[in-house]
């Protein structure tokens, strides 16, 4: 190949779809055409269909299971019960939090919706008919639906299967400095207190969970197409649980219709479908129905939070105490780093300069579905930030200080980084006061306060709520973060073909975040290859490098960094090729976007595409052919984006209905790869925050019946009632991330709820109300106004029978 005279200089990064380009999402091309390929689109020859029989009751001993009538139905191939799973040692499986969970119940059912039996049949109708033909005799036991009942002295023991388990406590844990915190409270002028329940919610991705398990007896290979956000973790789990050789297990996570944390755990349905395929030697498809998803799979939140804040008269926070009782359901199935029992709840108060804090946590079993997942948050961070911002608001009110001023006074200052948080995290960057100011200006804070005072004269109830937070995103580093011992790093593998096109694979797994678009932009930024020339592939463990998957806003902080590092390795090799092509030594080669050139003769250069061709057709002696690299990235720290959310509301005092007047969001997620996608993530997150604040909860009656088992009871907001979002940005690059990015996918869900609740509480201020638990349904707001008191939302809900 000959060295051509340069015709172009550095490329325009936006034009090639690099960093900062609001590039249209390439995946949408197939989604909007209905050409996505989801698990339910997988159809294999000879495939059977599986349906799960679930318990109608919340707590009962199984007296007998008679499946004989089910076996009689033509087309039924297999009926599995706990007893049969037990013969394979698969009646129970480990959870992600070192507990055990029943795959199919053997002794008792412990929540409504628990898996009791499974039918595998020629089609799903037959499977469903056969489930109805199974006769199960239950002996009812007393039901527990909240921690108070769970901790009562005479409470029935839920986990009588566990040796040595004498009560319903699944863990106790603490973090922080108790003595120093006690001293802070002794010195306090004012102590502010707050108590609340963050209700159980459900991530409810539109695509429910499902799998197609295909065991090939001839090759010994097991292929499982499944809805998972973390295919490699599943491969490891299957290797360990089912004792199959890891190299013969292929997990494929195709297009996912949302995840939001719901698709991190390993569910009984997956395991049963795998065993069913092994036993029948046929592919077995299991697609969960909506009710199955809502009543049995990983929920979010369900924590009771109490806390107090030690304050000085001048408004400085001296210390914080927190206690939480968390309701984990029947099995402790939280998806979280193993070092922490209650996720990263202790990331609370990271954006405030507080000398000391202490948190005690206790988890309990109840007769509810297991699996406290990080519903669009980094492991209990939503609860942390909600508590923080409700506590801060209460403290400002108790001191009689302006809520914005109180926050500003206590923020960590811009020049105070790195900063050690009261619970020991290290934050590295931020401009908190600036973000708050951008938000206050946007909402016209002073103007609204005047409007509110004016409206109050006519009996109208207006309120403004602020929520600020910095969120720990991007687990690991591997020193502190692991799941079941597997360290939390991530990976990328970049292969540049001879024509300069490339394929990029990572161990992350997109489920709506737009990886196929943004990952290519990182490569474009590093190498100058146009983003449209890069194919991004994820989710197949046979081809993707090992990674921990996508949740907890970790993909850009970890996999995104790995991509940059892999691209830099490719660039280093391309530089060698360029030097060879330009016939100069490597030291004399300079880089500008898309092109190497000779330092002393900038007109003489070669494009990255020419280097790629040379890697396959004209490499120098001694240089390994090809142009590819992989990188495993173990982040030095979490990333700490900041968000400031401000809502204004008006309450109708006669009905308790409240409307959002305006909502301003200021997000600082560092450098934005694709601003349009970031904004989409923020809007989606705010919509979920609004849902939680206003309408959404999975609750239970006294018998443990789940209220929220379908979309008529578990409400997802529609475009009709969702408020308009006004978005603003501040950019403080992450100092340790290769491209300065921070996580952002979850900030708005995490920080949003407190803005709404604080706004409604602000409107109720002066009416004797300190807290109304979410969701702020009109009847609760009305009750608070009527009774001039707090309203708790803890289950069981009040019903007339």
């Amino acid at each position: 190949m000959t060295v051509t005279e340069p015709t172009s200089r550095a490329l325009d990064e936006i034009k090639i779809g690099g960093m900062g380009a609001s590039r249209r999402r390439v995946e949408d091309n197939r989604f909007i055409r209905g050409k996505g390929h989801y698990v339910d689109d997988v159809v294999l020859p000879g495939m059977l269909h599986m349906e799960i029989l679930r318990s109608p009751v919340a707590h009962a001993r199984i007296v007998s299971i008679d499946a004989s009538a089910a076996w009689e139905i033509p087309g039924v191939r297999l009926v599995l019960t706990g007893e049969m799973m037990a013969t394979r040692n698969l009646a129970w499986m480990p959870t992600l939090s070192y507990d055990t969970q029943a795959v199919l119940a053997t002794d008792k059912v412990r929540f409504q919706g628990q898996e009791v039996a499974a039918v595998i049949a020629d089609d799903p109708y037959i499977a469903k008919d056969a489930c109805e033909a199974i006769v199960v005799e239950y002996e009812q036991l007393p039901v527990i639906v909240n921690p108070t009942q769970s901790l009562a002295p005479d409470a029935p023991l839920i986990r009588d299967d566990k040796v040595g388990q004498v009560d319903n406590v699944c863990f106790t844990w603490q973090v922080g400095d108790q003595d120093a915190t006690d001293r802070a409270f002794a010195e306090a002028d004012v102590v502010s207190r707050i108590e609340m329940h963050y209700p159980r919610s459900h991530p409810s991705p539109l695509e429910t969970c499902g799998s197609v398990a295909d065991f090939d007896r001839a090759t010994g290979k097991l292929t499982v197409y499944m809805t998972t956000q973390a295919p490699h973790i599943v491969r490891a789990a299957v290797a360990l649980i089912a004792e199959l050789p890891e190299h013969l297990i292929r997990i494929v996570s195709p297009d996912l219709g949302g995840g939001f944390g719901n698709k991190v755990p390993v569910y009984p349905g997956y395991v049963i479908s795998i065993l069913a395929s092994i036993l029948t030697e046929r592919p077995v498809k299991w697609i969960e129905d909506r009710t199955g998803n809502l009543i049995s799979t990983g929920f979010g939140r369900d924590v009771y939070l109490t806390g107090e804040m030690a304050l000085r008269k001048d408004g400085r926070i001296l210390g914080v105490r927190m206690h939480t009782d968390s309701d984990h359901g029947a099995f402790f199935g939280d998806a979280q780093p193993s070092k922490f029992k209650i996720g990263l709840l202790h990331s609370a108060f990271a954006c405030y300069d507080i000398p000391t804090a202490h948190l005690t946590a206790r988890g309990v079993y109840t007769n509810k579905a297991p699996g406290g997942v990080a519903y669009r948050c980094s492991f209990r961070v939503t609860e942390a930030m909600f508590f923080q911002e409700r506590m801060v608001q209460a403290a400002a009110d108790d001191l009689g200080m302006d809520q914005a001023e109180f926050r500003r006074l206590n923020f960590v200052r811009d020049d105070d980084f790195p900063h050690r948080t009261p619970f020991g995290f290290l934050t590295d960057s931020g401009q908190y006061a600036k973000c708050l100011q951008v938000g206050l200006d946007a909402i016209d804070y002073e103007g609204f306060l005047r409007e509110k005072a004016e409206a109050a004269k006519n009996g109208r109830l207006l309120g403004i709520g602020i929520s600020c937070m910095t969120e720990p995103l991007g687990a690991g580093n591997s020193r502190e973060y692991d799941i079941l011992g597997i360290k939390m790093f991530d990976s990328a593998e970049l292969r540049v073909h001879m024509t300069g096109k490339a394929i990029l694979r990572t161990g992350a797994k997109t489920q709506g975040q737009g990886h196929e678009t943004t990952w290519a932009q990182i490569v474009a930024h590093e190498l100058g290859i146009p983003a449209e020339d890069i194919l991004v592939e994820e989710g197949d463990t046979d081809t993707a490098p090992f990674g921990m998957g996508t949740y907890a806003s970790r993909s850009t902080p970890v996999a995104g960094a790995a991509i940059a590092m892999a691209a830099r390795k490719v660039k280093a090799k391309a530089r060698q090729l360029a030097a060879h092509l330009l016939e100069v030594s490597e030291e004399d080669v300079e880089w500008e976007l898309g092109r190497f050139y000779v330092r002393s003769a900038p007109d003489r250069g070669v494009s990255i595409q020419e280097c790629a061709m040379a890697a396959y057709s004209n490499m120098p002696d001694g240089l390994e052919p090809g142009l590819e690299a992989n990188a495993y990235y173990d982040p030095p720290n979490l990333t700490w984006p900041f968000g400031c959310y401000i809502a204004t509301v008006e309450i109708d005092p006669a009905t308790g209905v409240w409307d959002v007047l305006r909502f301003v969001a200021v997000d600082d997620c560092g450098v934005r790869i694709n601003p349009m996608i970031v904004e989409g993530q923020i809007m989606g997150g705010l919509t979920e925050a609004y849902a939680m604040a206003s309408m959404q909860f999975i609750t239970f009656d006294a018998d443990g019946n789940c209220i929220g088992s379908n979309f008529m009871d578990y409400l997802l907001p529609t475009a009709w009632e969702t408020p308009g979002w006004e978005l603003h940005e501040v950019v403080t690059p992450c100092p340790h991330h290769p491209i300065g990015a921070k996580g952002v996918g979850e900030c708005a869900t995490v920080g949003g709820p407190a803005a709404f609740v604080n706004a409604v509480m602000d409107a109720l201020k002066g009416h004797g109300v300190r807290n109304v638990d979410m969701p702020l349904l009109p009847d609760r707001v009305h009750e608070a106004l009527q009774t001039r008191g707090d309203v708790s939302g803890a289950p069981p809900i009040r019903t007339d029978r």
């Binding site: 469903k128 109805e132 308790g656 209220i707 009847d779």
Partner: protein, 291 residues
């Protein structure tokens, strides 16, 4: 969606449909918009052996307004048709107020008013509107046609008076004699939600005297509540604040809600009181302004 096994017929004539229902001997069901029946079949709460789809029957999609103000709503008139029927709204504003509050746009394009009456959901909205307007249902069976006043048509939660081989062919809203006013208010947690509590108010005024009144409530009992006491509190009087308060009190009294995840019984009664007050107050201020 995996319902139980069922047969499906799509007859071309009403007689054929009635014949199929007759032969079905109680195990057949009419399929209209499917917006209530299909979800129930999905959950296997309803397991009909035969579905008789009436969507191909001619003439049932007619929405007619007669010279005397009578409105005839055929069995295939969709919620959406009623939402857009300006001439109907001018005659009976309560219809125009209720239609856009039913379900969401997707459901409204398929669901029917007559189907909603037949379904007799205690939280349904149309039954309250038709009750407030003293409407009736026209049913046809092997023995011919009959007219059934709405109060007799619904017999309980999800129960109506139709024989297994009768088809409800239309609902009729009688024409008003005097100036019509009214409204419909509904508390819902989200668009597409059923009513936590809802109120239909239809009144006729001769000058400032109320000559006829109908107030019906949804979501606050095991069936649509006809708040006759509330209506009586208005008839023969002007819409004074005392009359309005008396009607609101009587309506709240008539409501028989239960506590559930949408709110306490007391709250739902309070909402009914608020809504009746709001609708009537709005009517009285608009008619004052008009006068």
């Amino acid at each position: 969606m995996y319902p139980s096994r069922f047969a499906y017929e799509a007859p071309r004539t009403l007689d054929e449909a009635i014949g199929l229902l007759h032969d079905g001997a109680g195990e057949a069901k009419v399929l209209a918009g499917g917006q209530s029946l299909v979800p129930l079949m999905k959950l296997r709460f309803a397991n009909p052996e035969l579905l008789v789809d009436i969507n191909n029957l001619p003439g049932l999609d007619r929405l007619e307004t007669l010279a005397d103000g009578t409105i005839r709503v055929g069995a295939l008139v969709r919620h959406r048709d009623l939402e857009r029927a300006g001439d109907v709204h001018r005659i009976q504003p309560v219809v125009g107020a209720a239609a856009p509050l039913i379900a969401d746009p997707i459901v409204r394009t398929r669901g029917t008013l007559v189907g909603s009456l037949c379904h007799a959901d205690p939280q349904g909205d149309w039954a309250a509107v038709v009750t407030a307007l003293r409407g009736y249902v026209v049913a046809q069976g092997p023995g011919g046609r009959r007219e059934i006043p709405i109060g007799d048509f619904v017999t309980g939660p999800f129960q109506n008076v139709l024989a297994h081989d009768e088809v409800a062919v239309e609902a009729v809203l009688p024409g008003p004699r005097h100036t019509v006013a009214g409204g419909f208010l509904k508390l819902e947690r989200r668009v597409g939600d059923f009513a936590t509590a809802g109120t239909a108010v239809a009144i006729e005024l001769d000058g400032d005297r109320v000559t006829r009144a109908g107030i019906a409530l949804t979501g606050v009992g095991s069936r649509t509540v006809d708040a006759t006491g509330a209506a009586e509190a208005l008839v023969g009087r002007a819409l004074t604040s005392e009359a309005i308060a008396a009607a609101a009190d009587a309506a709240a009294e008539a409501a028989q809600p239960t506590a559930d995840h949408r709110g306490s019984a007391a709250y739902k009664k309070h909402v009914i009181h608020t809504f009746v007050t709001r609708i009537l107050t709005r009517v009285s201020t608009t008619s004052e302004q008009a006068a």
